[in-house]
């Protein structure tokens, strides 16, 4: 079990309520005592040290904090950690296996789909969710699926290319397996 802000030395005061929750993060069940007001993004970043989930805007607008919640993209900066109790969360750290990148990750590198990298984890997770429900998206499908994620560097054109590159690769892989 891990507790958040475990560096705290002072008595936090007896009146701070906590709740014990269990969340499966990138396949591992994690149990943690949290204040009910703690945001999911902060639990992931501070409590679980998964700093690939970024917080950009605090208002559900920029999508840098996007994670997959039971497979669906959600913005973890406006979701409470306690709401995730009993659910599965996937972060960017869960995308690659030890030996292999996810095709979306490969696509972003191959097509120069990132510059500063801050929006990238959220963009890639939103893209992964898209490709799982629509393996053969059009450019418009990609643009619409990513319209909840802001990028200030790339102008999106290469992000769209990256996702279409990944779609091609995933379809080819699935074709081989079938």
């Amino acid at each position: 079990m891990t507790s958040l802000y475990n560096e705290v030395a002072a008595d936090p005061g007896a009146d701070v309520p906590t709740r014990r929750i269990t969340i499966t993060v990138n396949g591992d069940p994690r149990t943690v005592d949290v204040e009910p007001r703690l945001l999911l993004a902060h639990l992931l970043r501070q409590g679980l040290q998964l700093t690939g989930t970024h917080t950009g805007c605090d208002t559900t607008s920029c999508g840098a904090c996007t994670v997959l919640f039971d497979g669906r993209p959600v913005k973890s900066c406006t979701m409470l950690a306690v709401q995730a109790d009993g659910h599965e969360v996937e972060t960017v750290e869960g995308m690659a296996t030890a030996s292999e990148l996810h095709p979306v990750q490969e696509g972003f590198k191959e097509c120069h789909g990132l510059q500063c990298g801050f929006c990238t984890p959220g963009m890639m997770l939103a893209s992964k969710a898209l490709l799982e429900r629509n393996p053969n998206p059009t450019e418009d499908d990609v643009r619409w699926a990513l319209s909840g994620n802001l990028c200030r560097c790339t102008g999106y054109q290469n992000i769209v290319k990256s996702v279409l590159w990944a779609a091609d690769k995933m379809r080819a892989q699935n074709g081989e397996e079938a």
Partner: protein
């Protein structure tokens, strides 16, 4: 037997980026990702009013919150002589308000606590009593003698005016106007905008009393300037200050200035003797940190009937907010505004500029531009558009007549810049061809017959990128050179450090390509490190597209020093005199005997194991580079739009961008920067601006009110290139990162105006929101973003 440059990731290779390996795995290391043992968290209380005298600040309830370690107010800062700090423009700026609030969002107090939630809780318990004052939100109000003096803290500041500045030849310009057949005029407002990188600003200050060393992890584009500033402001010895700028989540000029939060976190760490982390929220970032633009521009152009420009008069009135904190070369009060019209042969020009304080956050950062160049070039291209219309000339033809011709370089502009290279007409031609310019008029007429409104807009410009040279460009006296330090290890691998600081530009990838080009060492064998002032050589940082023009040049020069030493070693190894040694990429050989040679890697090993007698061992070099001139890239952008007459909504049908940024180190990276810049240009033209109500409330303090384009709205871009090498840069490169943001907006606006100006409107101020376009189309009136002039 020389190595294949493209295979080793040298110049011209679209090498995939090295930094991506960590970013795509979520392993970037941004300031907020860093956790130090015993770290405390700081939250800043910001003013919710724009202009008020502070009557009292009661922090007692904040101190009582369990977990609170320190509450800082302006009074406590003042006791340590830290309530005010110098700005980058020789003004002063409040670190924390002591007497007065001068803009909404100004820092009033700070709470340092065990966790950020506690710090936020405690901040909300601080009680501030204000006595509100009349608020000034634009330069017109600032000139009203009935309005209060914003900077009553300063001596010799009787009004709200900051500066009066002029450049050019007034007498000659007046004469040009006397000789003119036609005089064309234009007046517009370039609205206030915020660079808004996704990552807000923040710092972790870590003061170690036992060693006296202060380490600050900080979101800064210019770590060495910050080190100097901290040394001055906090009166700490410079060698005891280490600034580390880790991965940055974008900068765009927003992360150049010194912000109060950095200074407060430093004092908090000194007082608590613990590391103190401050991470701004988005609202804090949007309402208090470096804005861009907010300039009112007007001008008139003297023209001959045949289309020749004879002269140009311009006047700018700029709104700098409560403190003059522009980040720009010190000599110039309104940045490089006078680079306007640099691509045109304008024989006489005169510019006057006046700047005012207002009750807004300090503005004037170079938001993805080379110091006010964005406003300069936008006005230029809107003026050109208006002048061509006034003459009844075709837009492309009018430009062709007036563009500086290839054989006129080096060309001295009327304002004194020296442009040195370009193929302007060729770029224009490439763009016209790609967009189908010559068929457009017919297309437009046919569409109009069917009730559809099409428009085409052109924007052509050259801009000064890569300050300095040090004769003319300095910030607070520090000359604008840059640096690189290259160490080649004995196995022929190496590490390169520069005084620049990447924020997404990809230096870790492209700098190694320059080394590969100069030495033939594979780019993969060079690791690039930036941003740590304890290890990086002194440099002025990354902004104003100066990395490649200045630090990139230093990289080439450092590599050439290595090659010069390696040549001596090669002569020793090959047992011939140095004069008999020839170089090909990656290898020295004996003249006349190509097979007899040694590789650069052989030389590296010998530098540590078998150097000639008397030679200093090792293979390291440092180069400080002071460029002889700015670099002058050229852009020719063409935009085709359709305006919906029912709604005023406009769509981009096609956008063609022709960029000549000289030799391209990594074409993939260049194109990425152009597309990113075009998107910011589209944003400015279409939706992205921040305004203030009459009480000084910032309308645009979050991403629900401050609209940034998403993948859905953003159009696609078609890119073309022309290459005119920079004559003075060691590898012929020019800056490029900002060309698209600078030249882009006018292409969109000119296109929309071209679609609707038959109705009578001459100008619609940005952003071209549907309601503005609709009104201009249906009334034929200009739509101004300027505040109404008060009539009493």
């Amino acid at each position: 037997m020389s190595v294949d440059e493209l295979k080793i990731g040298g110049m011209g290779a679209s090498r995939r980026r090295v930094e991506d390996n960590r970013f795509i795995r979520g392993k970037g290391r941004y300031v907020d990702d860093i956790v130090l043992p015993g770290m405390l968290h700081m939250e800043i209380l910001r003013a919710d009013v724009a202009h008020a005298r502070i009557k009292s600040i009661d922090t007692s309830a904040a101190w009582e919150v369990p977990g609170v370690r320190l509450v800082l107010t302006g009074e406590m800062m003042a006791a340590r002589n830290l309530a005010w700090m110098p700005t980058l423009s020789y003004d002063t700026q409040a670190v924390m308000a002591t007497d007065k609030i001068r803009f909404q969002g100004q820092e009033i107090a700070a709470v340092i606590a065990d966790d950020p939630y506690i710090a936020k809780d405690a901040c909300s318990r601080i009680v501030v009593e204000y006595e509100q004052l009349p608020v000034i939100v634009n330069p017109i109000q600032a000139q009203d003698p009935a309005m209060p003096l914003i900077r009553d803290d300063k001596e010799n500041q009787p009004t709200n005016k900051i500066f009066d500045w002029e450049i050019g030849d007034k007498a000659r310009t007046d004469k040009a106007f006397e000789e003119a057949d036609v005089v064309s005029t234009l007046e517009l407002h370039y609205p206030r905008s915020h660079p808004s990188p996704l990552e807000p600003c923040g710092s972790i200050a870590d003061y170690d009393r036992s060693t006296g060393k202060l380490t600050v992890y900080m979101t800064t584009q210019a770590p060495h300037i910050i080190r100097a500033a901290v040394a001055m402001v906090a009166e700490l010895p410079e060698h005891m200050i280490r600034i580390v700028s880790p991965d940055l989540g974008g900068g765009f000029g927003n992360k150049v200035p010194v912000y109060p939060g950095y200074v407060i976190s430093i004092l908090a760490s000194i007082l608590t003797e613990r590391p103190v982390k401050w991470i701004e929220d988005k609202t804090g970032n949007l309402i208090s940190t470096g804005f861009g633009r907010d300039v009112y521009l007007k001008g008139e152009m003297a023209l001959r009937k045949d289309g020749k420009i004879l002269g140009m008069r311009m006047h700018t009135t700029s709104d700098h907010g409560a403190f003059f904190a522009d980040a720009q070369p010190t000599k110039f009060k309104i940045g490089l505004m006078h680079s306007t019209f640099a691509c045109y042969d304008v024989p006489a020009a005169h510019l006057t500029s006046v700047g005012y304080y207002t009750n807004k956050a300090p503005g004037g950062v170079a938001y993805r531009c080379s110091f006010r160049v964005t406003e300069a070039m936008f006005f230029q291209e809107r003026m050109i558009h208006a002048a061509a219309n006034d003459l009844g000339m075709d837009q492309a033809e009018f430009r062709r007549v007036n563009l500086v011709k290839d054989d006129m370089f080096p060309y001295r502009t009327a304002f004194g810049f020296l442009t040195d290279s370009g193929q302007y007409e060729k770029c224009l031609e490439v763009g016209m061809e790609a967009i189908g310019y010559r068929n457009f008029k017919q297309e437009q007429e046919e569409a109009r017959k069917r009730g559809r409104l099409l428009g085409i807009g052109i924007s052509t410009m050259t801009e000064p990128l890569g300050a300095g040279n040090s004769r003319e460009y300095d910030i607070l006296g520090i000359k604008m050179f840059d640096s690189a330090e290259l160490r080649i290890h004995m196995t022929g691998k190496g590490i390169l450090r520069t005084g620049a600081k990447t924020q997404g530009q990809g230096h870790e990838t492209t700098w190694a390509q320059i080394v590969a080009h100069e030495l033939g060492i594979p780019a993969d064998d060079i690791v690039v490190e930036e941003g740590d002032t304890d290890t990086a050589p002194f440099g002025m940082g990354t902004y104003a597209s100066r990395s490649t023009p200045v630090a990139g040049a230093a990289v080439a020069m450092a590599a050439r020093k290595i090659r010069a030493k390696a040549r001596k070693i090669a002569a020793h190894l090959l047992e011939v005199s140095e004069e008999d040694i020839e170089w090909e990429l990656g290898r020295f050989y004996v003249r006349g005997n190509h097979d007899r040679g040694v590789t650069i890697q052989d030389c590296a090993l010998a530098a540590y194991s078998n150097m000639p007698d008397g030679m200093e061992p090792g293979m390291e070099s440092t180069a400080y580079y002071d460029p002889p001139n700015l670099t002058w890239p050229f852009a020719a952008y063409f935009c085709k739009v359709e305006v919906d007459p029912q709604t005023g909504v406009w769509d981009v049908l096609n956008f063609v961008a022709v960029d000549d940024c000289g030799v391209r180190i990594n074409p993939m990276v260049v194109e990425g920067q152009v597309m990113g810049g075009l998107t910011e240009a589209y944003a400015m033209a279409n939706m992205q601006y921040i305004t203030f109500d009459e009480s000084g409330n910032c309308i645009g303090s979050n991403y629900m009110d401050y609209l940034l384009p998403t993948a859905w709205e953003t159009p696609g871009f078609e890119l073309h290139e022309v290459v005119t090498p920079c004559p003075h840069h060691p590898i012929g490169a020019k800056g490029v990162g900002e060309c698209a943001t600078v030249a882009g907006p006018a292409a969109f606006v000119n296109a929309v105006m071209n679609a609707i100006e038959h109705a009578g409107a001459r100008n619609v101020d940005m952003p071209l929101m549907p309601n503005r376009v609709f009104e201009a189309l249906h009334t034929g009136n200009d739509i101004s973003g300027m505040p109404p002039v008060k009539v009493d």
